[in-house]
């Protein structure tokens, strides 16, 4: 890759917080460091991954509103987790976490476990229990 070919396709994915450091060849054939603000194929791949996640989150949000699953399921998807990963964070067996996805079981959970969930999801116990996040991405 030549220096002038280093892509600068900023799609806002780096939120202005960083730039990719690349190595490219200058006019004299010597390798130099060049910063890149992004690259189209990579941007598209990342957007694809996030769209996939957003779809799942929205789908689960609907199911919580319909009373089919507990808010734990929603926040699990929102944090890109699955039952196995969530169980590791909670330090609980997977079968228990699985039960907590049922609205009936969730309502009876004691404060200590709710606090653990809230901490894992970086929200408050109140937010977890009242599920006051309708429509928010």
């Amino acid at each position: 890759m030549r220096k002038k070919e280093v892509p600068q396709d900023d799609a806002g994915l780096m939120e202005g917080k960083m730039r990719d450091l690349c190595y490219a060849v200058d006019e004299n054939g010597k390798y130099v460091q060049v910063f890149s603000t992004g690259w189209e194929p990579k941007n598209e791949a990342m957007k694809q991954a996030w769209n996939e996640i957003r779809e799942k989150v929205e789908h689960t949000r609907q199911k919580v509103l319909e009373g089919k699953v507990s808010p734990v399921a929603y926040y699990m998807e929102k944090n890109i987790m699955n039952i196995s990963l969530l169980a590791q964070y909670l330090e609980l067996p997977k079968r228990k976490v699985k039960k907590h996805l049922k609205p009936g079981v969730f309502r009876k959970l004691d404060k200590k476990i709710l606090e653990k969930y809230a901490e894992t999801f970086t929200i408050t116990v109140d937010e977890l229990c009242t599920f006051n996040e309708p429509g928010k991405k």
């Binding site: 890759m1 994915l13 780096m14 939120e15 917080k17 960083m18 730039r19 990719d20 450091l21 690349c22 190595y23 490219a24 060849v25 054939g29 010597k30 390798y31 690259w39 189209e40 194929p41 990579k42 598209e44 791949a45 990342m46 694809q48 991954a49 996030w50 996939e52 944090n79 890109i80 987790m81 990963l85 590791q88 964070y89 970086t122």
Partner: protein, 341 residues
């Protein structure tokens, strides 16, 4: 020396393309061993390829362009005869205490962390990826000062947030892993380290007797990719292809990017060893990198525009086969390197 404010070590932060290269390069630089990122990458044999369809990450097959986390640091320090220490801790508090103790003694310390809870990272980059490397080099008003090679400037993390990322869960959990230099001698044999690093890379890319690794792995991916549309259907196939591109270009990995770093290394090595032919190989490696870029561009078009694309998975796989052939020639030529001549 002037007394430090709290525990701030006079540490120079330099950004890098790849986190482990950057951490290693910056840590050694602190001890007076000034080696560039490409030099670290080459000596540490950071170039690798593996395609493991049977291991899944978020339901998608794993492709990796690097050896296991920690290997670059391990190989470089071993090769340059630098004494290091690597530790992991079952108890998070002990891990943080050990880190504080190091900072008090003025030792910048590398940590393996997960990026999901890394607060200073841009949100779209925060997946559950646990093989990121940072250096902690100070503590100010309770916050830790962090040299993260991916960031342009030093960052800060609270005690709680640092502990959290050091104990991220999931695939390859960091378990509080930390590492640092114990003793570095200012004299080292760079020539020997370069030759050793090149030979190791050739070994990894040519001689592992399994189809998933090295040049064979690239061909294996090409072969599987041709079958994706029929076997998986258009939607899943496009997700698989998207995953390849993310693995190729996202932080901590890198297909084309790694080829360019390696080409930069070969160029530098040509100068150090006085071997002009390495400059030619560097050019060939640059071309291989350009082909990886073309592969990414074409794949991007395919998965974005899956219905009416003239280009197919077959075309993308053809590029991979061409890359495998080119790289095979490169490593076969490189493996003949020796200190004599």
């Amino acid at each position: 020396m002037v007394k430090q404010q709290e525990n701030n070590i006079p540490f120079v932060h330099r950004p890098a393309a790849h986190c482990e290269n950057g951490v290693t390069s910056n840590l050694l630089n602190f001890y007076g061993i000034d080696l560039s990122e490409p030099m670290i990458f080459g000596i540490g044999s950071g170039l690798f390829f593996s395609y493991m369809p049977f291991i899944k990450l978020n339901y998608l097959p794993v492709i990796s362009f690097r050896p296991l986390p920690g290997w670059i640091f391990k190989r470089v320090t071993k090769s340059l005869k630098i004494e290091i220490s690597r530790k992991k801790f079952v108890n998070p508090k002990n891990a943080m205490d050990a880190l504080d103790e190091n900072l008090k003694r003025g030792i910048p310390t590398g940590c393996l962390v997960g990026v999901f809870h890394l607060t200073y990272f841009p949100k779209p980059y925060r997946f559950h990826f646990n093989a990121h490397n940072i250096i902690v080099f100070g503590r100010e008003n309770g916050d830790y000062t962090i040299s993260d090679p991916i960031m342009e400037n030093p960052e800060k993390l609270s005690y709680h947030d640092l502990k959290r990322v050091r104990y991220a869960k999931g695939t390859y959990p960091p378990i509080g892993r930390m590492y640092y230099v114990k003793k570095a001698s200012p004299t080292y044999d760079l020539d020997r380290a370069i030759v050793k690093g090149i030979k190791k890379t050739c070994q990894d890319m040519l001689n592992i007797p399994l189809p998933m690794f090295g040049v064979k792995g690239i061909r294996y991916l090409a072969k599987r990719m041709r079958k994706w549309p029929a076997r998986l259907g258009p939607k899943k196939a496009s997700l698989y292809l998207g995953q390849v591109i993310r693995m190729l270009e996202e932080i901590g990995t890198g297909g084309a990017g790694f080829r360019f770093i390696y080409a930069a290394f070969l160029q530098e090595a040509a100068g150090v060893l006085g071997k002009e032919w390495l400059n030619e190989v560097s050019k060939e490696m640059t071309e291989a990198g350009d082909r990886w870029r073309q592969f990414a561009i074409m794949s991007g078009r395919i998965f974005k525009n899956r219905a009416n694309s003239k280009e197919t998975y077959e075309d993308a796989a053809d590029i991979l086969v061409d890359i495998a052939n080119r790289e095979e020639r490169i490593y076969k030529r490189l493996r003949t390197i020796s200190l004599e001549e």
